[in-house]
Symmetry: C2
Subunit: 96 residues, 2 copies
């Protein structure tokens, strides 16, 4: 690998790994109201296309990085659905 | 462009464009507590490396997409710093 490949490798590592602290924070705080659902869904769809692109090119790093990211963003979507619903129920109860 | 290029093009469009609804929601709600600062900083650094990678390869779509994304995530970092500080000040005032 030359310098350019190393830069690409670390770039991919950072942008894929970036989802981890978000998943951890959302799981810890059980709060996801400030996360945009549109962003999460667009990221999932985009990464699904990157995964298909990687499968076409038979590019293992691209495939692995996108499977990992899709799992993280799918987890965030699931948490947002669950925690936002709990928030709304708590609000409704408080207003009764 | 063949099918594989189109898939890559739309993948890039979706993952770059995904930041837009997040920027709009954060600007509208003036609230960013649930966003992970580590995620935003890691994304900015990763995209800076992708930008350098794109400059080395002289790949215009990669360069343009990453400049756009860096602007979005830098805006989110600035908003988070500002809105979180305002939140903390409001909390401190409420507890006085």
């Amino acid at each position: 690998m030359n310098l350019v490949h190393y830069i690409g490798f670390f770039a991919g590592l950072l942008t894929s790994g970036a989802a981890v602290p978000q998943v951890m924070q959302t799981w810890r705080t059980k709060h996801a109201r400030d996360l945009s659902m549109s962003q999460l869904v667009l990221l999932c769809l985009g990464m699904l296309l990157w995964l298909i692109y990687g499968l076409f090119l038979n590019d293992l790093p691209l495939i692995a990085a996108n499977i990992f990211s899709i799992c993280c963003y799918a987890a965030l979507i699931a948490m947002k659905l669950r925690f936002d619903r709990k928030d709304a129920a708590a609000c409704a109860q408080a207003m009764e």
